[in-house]
C-alpha cells in the first residue's frame, strides 16, 4: 500500500492525562450536498433509492434524498478519531437516530468526554441540523490501539 | 400602451400616525388622513369631486364627505379584494380624472385594524348564509384554515419547495424592512431593527411562516389626492406622475386560496399586472432603483420580485441575499419599513412612500429616483403602479 503519511509525522497518541471529564471535542461541521449523500451511500453499498434518487425519495414522503445510517455511523467515528488521533481504537459506538439529514443541511457534531479511566474514554456525541437532532449517543475508545484490546491480527 | 400613461398624478399624500390603538373612531382616522392629503396638495375639501376606496372600508363616502364639508361628488367607486386594491384605487381615480368624470379624486383607507377587528383573528365566525363568497370558505374554515397567514402558508410552502427558498431568504426580507423602519420615525418599529437570527428564532404562526414573516396589525389612515398631470404642475408638491396603473385577475386567481393552478408559487395575476405596467410605462426592471413590494408575508415578496422580472423564476432567494434589497443594495425595497416595519394600512402607506421617493423627500431616500414600482397585495386579485418624475 502506498505510503502517504510518513510515520514520523504521525500525531503522537493522546495521553490519558490530557483528557478530562467535560472536555469538549472540536466540533465537526459537514455541509451536506447531494454528492456527499450519494457517494457515501454507494461507498457503504446502500442502494436504497431514498439515498440517491430524489424523485423516489419524494414519492416515499421525504423532502429530498437523505443520509443512510451507515454513513452517520462513519461520521460519528471520524469525528471522534479526528480528535483522538490514529493511535486510538474505537470499541463501541451507540447512536439514537433522529431527524434525517438532507442536501442543504449542515450537520454539526459536538462531543463531550463523560468518562475517562485507564486510557478508556467515553464521549457523548450529538449530531444536529437545523431540523433538530440527527443522531446522538456515545462512543467508547481506547486511547492506544495496543494497550487494551490485545487484538493484533 | 394604455391611453392613461402620464395623464394624471398623485399631488397629495396624508396619513394619521400609525399605532396599535388609535383611541379614536375609524371615521375620524379617515377624515384626518383625507384632510392631511388635501393640505399636502394645496387643495381643500371643497375641491374634491371624487372618492375611491376599498370594498372592505367601513367608512362610507357620504360620512367622509360630510365630516369634511365636501360639496358635490360626481364619481365614487370601490375596489374589492382587500390588500390587492392600492394600485387599483389609484387606477380608478386616474381613469375618472383622465376622462373628465372628476377633477380631484381622493383615495382613502382607514381602520382600527389592531385595536378593533383584527384580520389575523380569522374568519371562523363568518356564518353560513349561502352566498358564493361564504360557500368558497367552506373548503377551508371547517378544516381550521381561517387566517390570512394560514392561507398564505399553503402557497408559501409549495413555493419554497419548488424554488429551494429557505427561512434565511424570508429572513432577508424581514431584516431589510426592519432596517428601513428603524430609521423612519413614523414606523411602529422605529429604532428596532432585527437580525436574521431574530427572525429564525421567532415563533411559528403557520409553518412555514414565523411571527417575523407576517406583517403587523395596525390602526391608522392613509389618503392620496389624484389630479391631472397638468393641474399637478401648478400645485405645491412635485408631482408623482402615474406612468402606469393596472389590475389583474388571471385564470387561477382566488382570494388568498389560489391552490388549484399548475404552479401555485407563481403569481399569475401579479405577472399580468407587471406586464401591463412595463408595457404602459415603456420601462423595464433596469429603470427602477427602488420599489414598494407588498409585504403582508415575506415569501410573497420573493414571488413578486420574480413576477416583475427583477430576477428570474426561483431566483429571488439569491436576489435578496447580502443586503441587496436594503438601502445601498441593487434594489432597496420598502424604504419606509413596509407593512412589516412601518404599518399595515392595506398597502396605501406604500403608495405614499412611492410618492415620497419620486419627490425626493423619503426619510430613507434613494438617489435619483426617476421611476418606482408599487405593488398591491399578492396572492389575491391585485394591482400595481409605476410612478415617475415629471418630464
Amino acid at each position: 500500500m502506498t505510503s502517504e503519511t510518513s510515520s514520523s509525522s504521525l500525531r503522537p497518541p493522546l495521553q490519558a492525562s490530557e483528557v478530562a471529564i467535560d472536555d469538549e471535542l472540536p466540533p465537526l461541521e459537514i455541509a451536506i450536498d447531494r454528492t456527499f449523500v450519494i457517494a457515501a451511500a454507494i461507498a457503504t453499498r446502500d442502494y436504497q433509492d431514498v439515498h440517491h434518487d430524489h424523485e423516489a425519495a419524494v414519492k416515499r414522503g421525504a423532502p429530498d434524498i437523505f443520509l443512510n445510517i451507515l454513513t452517520t455511523t462513519g461520521l460519528v467515528n471520524r469525528f471522534v478519531t479526528d480528535w483522538a488521533g490514529p493511535h486510538a481504537r474505537i470499541n463501541k459506538t451507540a447512536i439514537r437516530l433522529g431527524m434525517p439529514a438532507h442536501p442543504g443541511d449542515t450537520l454539526t457534531f459536538t462531543g463531550t468526554v463523560t468518562e475517562s479511566a485507564d486510557g478508556v474514554v467515553t464521549v457523548s456525541i450529538d449530531g444536529t441540523t437545523a431540523r433538530g437532532s440527527h443522531a446522538s449517543g456515545s462512543v467508547t475508545l481506547s486511547l492506544s490501539a495496543v494497550a487494551d484490546s490485545g487484538d493484533q491480527r | 400602451m394604455s391611453m392613461l400613461s402620464g395623464k394624471t398624478a398623485i399631488a397629495g399624500i396624508g396619513a394619521t400616525e400609525f399605532s396599535k390603538d388609535s383611541g379614536r373612531s375609524e371615521l375620524q382616522l379617515a377624515a384626518e388622513s383625507v384632510l392631511a392629503a388635501l393640505n399636502d396638495a394645496g387643495l381643500t375639501p371643497a375641491d374634491v369631486d371624487g372618492l375611491v376606496t376599498y370594498t372592505m372600508e367601513k367608512n362610507p363616502e357620504t360620512e367622509v364627505a360630510r365630516a369634511l364639508g365636501m360639496g358635490n361628488i360626481t364619481y365614487f367607486g370601490r375596489v374589492n379584494f382587500g390588500g390587492g386594491a392600492p394600485g387599483a384605487v389609484v387606477l380608478q381615480a386616474a381613469m375618472a380624472v383622465a376622462t373628465g368624470v372628476a377633477d380631484v379624486v381622493v383615495c382613502y383607507r382607514a381602520f382600527n385594524e389592531r385595536s378593533g377587528r383584527r384580520f389575523g383573528a380569522g374568519v371562523q365566525d363568518r356564518g353560513t348564509e349561502p352566498s358564493a363568497e361564504n360557500a368558497g370558505y367552506a373548503w377551508y374554515t371547517p378544516h381550521g384554515i381561517v387566517t390570512p397567514a394560514q392561507w398564505a402558508a399553503m402557497t408559501a410552502r409549495r413555493y419554497m419547495h419548488d424554488s429551494g427558498a429557505t427561512t434565511e431568504a424570508l429572513g432577508a426580507v424581514a431584516v431589510a424592512a426592519r432596517r428601513h423602519a428603524a430609521t423612519n420615525p413614523k414606523a411602529w418599529f422605529y429604532e428596532r431593527p432585527i437580525t436574521l437570527a431574530d427572525h429564525a428564532e421567532s415563533r411559528w404562526i403557520a409553518e412555514p411562516l414565523r411571527l417575523l414573516d407576517c406583517c403587523q396589525e395596525s390602526d391608522g389612515g392613509q389618503a392620496l389626492v389624484i389630479v391631472s398631470a397638468e393641474r399637478a404642475r401648478d400645485l405645491p408638491q412635485k408631482p408623482a406622475i402615474i406612468k402606469a396603473a393596472a389590475q389583474g385577475i388571471a385564470a387561477p386567481t382566488a382570494m388568498m386560496t389560489a391552490y388549484y393552478g399548475d404552479d401555485i408559487g407563481h403569481l399569475e395575476e401579479m405577472t399580468l399586472v407587471a406586464d401591463q405596467l412595463w408595457a404602459d410605462a415603456q420601462l423595464s426592471p433596469a429603470d427602477i432603483p427602488t420599489a414598494i413590494i407588498y409585504d403582508h408575508f415575506t415569501p410573497y415578496v420573493l414571488m413578486q420580485l420574480e413576477s416583475f422580472g427583477f430576477c428570474g423564476r426561483g431566483e429571488a432567494k439569491d436576489f435578496v441575499r447580502d443586503g441587496n434589497v436594503e438601502l445601498g443594495g441593487r434594489l432597496p425595497i420598502n424604504t419606509h419599513g413596509g407593512q412589516l416595519g412601518e404599518a399595515y394600512i392595506h398597502g396605501m402607506n406604500g403608495v405614499a412612500e412611492g410618492v415620497r421617493q419620486i419627490r425626493g423627500t423619503a426619510v430613507n431616500q434613494v438617489a435619483n429616483v426617476e421611476n418606482t414600482v408599487v405593488t398591491g397585495g399578492a396572492g389575491v386579485p391585485t394591482s400595481g403602479l409605476i410612478l415617475g418624475a415629471d418630464g
Partner: protein, 330 residues
C-alpha cells in the same frame, strides 16, 4: 382511543421470536479490497492514515492497515440489485405480519449500536449472521404506540473463504414498529362536550352535493357532462366548455400532499394545535384541502401519499380529513 384500538401483542405471541435466527449466515461476495476502503474514506472524509497507510498503521502498534470499524456492516451489504434477504425463511417476516395485523404498520429505525471486538484487514472474508434479540412489550412514544424490535448481527473475519472466522464485531439494531399517534381530534360527536364544534361550512345550491356525498361516505367531485372535466371547488358551469350540465363522481380518496401548513396561532378552540392541514393532489387529478388532525407535524412532507377518512361532526354533517397512507413513514 388508540389504546383500545391497539392493545398490543402479548408475551405469548412475542416470546417465540426472541433468539430466533434470521436465516443462515451469509459470506461477503468478495474479500475486503483496499479500493473499497478508499471509496469509503473519500466519501466520509476520514483522514485517519491507519486505513490506507501500512507504515502509519504499524506506527500505532497495529500489524497493517485495517478496515474502518464503521464499515463493519458494509461488507455484508448485498449491493445493487442484491437479493440476500428474501431468499430464505426469515422469522422477521412472520413477526412483521403479526404486527401489521395488530395495527402497527409504520416503522422507523431508532438505534444503531456497533461493538468492535477485532480488526478486519484487506483480504478478509466477512461472514454475517443475525438473530432477533428481543421484542418489547407495547410502548407509548411520541410517535405513537408500538413494539421495539432489536436484532443483533455478528461479524466474523477470515483470510480464507472456507476457514472459520474470528468474531470482529456486533451490530445491534432497534426498530420501532408502531401505529401513528391519534391526537384526539376535537369537535366530534361523542367527543368532549365542552369543546365548540368546528366551523360549519356554508352550504348552498352549488356545493350541497359534496356534503350529501360525505354523509354517504364518498368524496364527490363535480364532472362536466359535456366535456368530462373534473372541477373543484364547485361551480355551476364548466370553465372549459361553458356547459351548465354536470354530475358528480366519487373519488378514490387517495392522493399525495401537494403542500401543507401547520397552524400554531391563533388557536380556535375547536381544533388541537399544532394543526396540520394539507392540500392534496387527488389521484383523479383535482386538488383538495383538508385537515390531518391525527398526524404529527414531523411526519408530514410534500409528496407523501394520503387517504381520506370521514368524521361525523354534527348529526347532519360529515367532514373528510386525510391520514398518511400505509407504508409512507420513513
Amino acid at each position: 382511543m388508540s389504546q383500545d384500538e391497539h392493545p398490543g401483542l402479548t408475551r405469548e405471541q412475542l416470546d417465540p421470536f426472541a433468539g430466533k435466527s434470521c436465516g443462515p449466515s451469509r459470506q461477503s461476495r468478495d474479500p475486503i479490497a483496499p479500493s473499497d476502503i478508499r471509496s469509503w474514506i473519500d466519501a466520509i472524509g476520514d483522514t485517519n492514515p491507519i486505513y490506507v497507510d501500512d507504515d502509519a498503521s504499524m506506527a500505532t502498534g497495529r500489524s497493517s492497515v485495517i478496515a474502518p470499524p464503521a464499515m463493519l456492516q458494509v461488507w455484508s451489504m448485498a449491493g445493487l440489485g442484491g437479493t440476500s434477504k428474501s431468499t430464505t425463511q426469515d422469522p422477521r417476516k412472520e413477526l412483521f405480519a403479526l404486527l401489521d395485523d395488530a395495527g402497527f404498520t409504520s416503522v422507523v429505525a431508532t438505534n444503531c449500536e456497533q461493538e468492535y471486538l477485532g480488526d478486519a484487514v484487506p483480504g478478509d472474508w466477512i461472514t454475517t449472521s443475525e438473530v432477533i434479540e428481543s421484542v418489547s412489550d407495547v410502548k407509548d412514544t411520541g410517535l405513537g404506540r408500538g413494539h421495539f424490535i432489536t436484532t443483533v448481527m455478528s461479524f466474523t473475519a477470515s483470510p480464507d473463504p472456507l476457514g472459520d472466522g474470528e468474531l470482529i464485531g456486533r451490530q445491534r439494531w432497534r426498530l420501532f414498529r408502531f401505529a401513528p399517534k391519534n391526537r384526539g381530534s376535537g369537535g366530534q360527536a361523542g367527543g368532549d362536550s365542552d369543546r365548540p364544534p368546528r366551523p360549519r361550512p356554508a352550504i348552498n345550491r352549488d356545493n350541497a352535493f359534496f356534503f350529501e356525498g360525505t354523509l354517504a361516505g364518498e368524496l364527490r367531485i363535480q364532472k362536466c357532462d359535456s366535456c368530462g372535466t373534473l372541477r373543484h371547488p364547485p361551480s355551476p358551469a364548466c370553465g372549459a366548455c361553458q356547459s351548465f350540465d354536470w354530475s358528480t363522481v366519487a373519488m378514490s380518496g387517495r392522493g399525495t400532499i401537494h403542500s401543507f401548513v401547520v397552524n400554531h396561532h391563533p388557536q380556535v378552540p375547536a381544533f388541537d394545535y399544532p394543526l396540520v392541514v394539507a392540500l392534496v393532489d387527488l389521484e383523479e387529478g383535482v386538488r383538495f384541502v383538508a385537515e390531518m388532525p391525527d398526524t404529527d407535524r414531523e411526519d408530514v412532507a410534500i409528496g407523501l401519499p394520503v387517504e381520506v377518512r370521514y368524521r361525523k361532526q354534527e348529526d347532519d354533517l360529515v367532514m373528510p380529513h386525510f391520514v398518511l397512507a400505509e407504508g409512507s413513514s420513513q
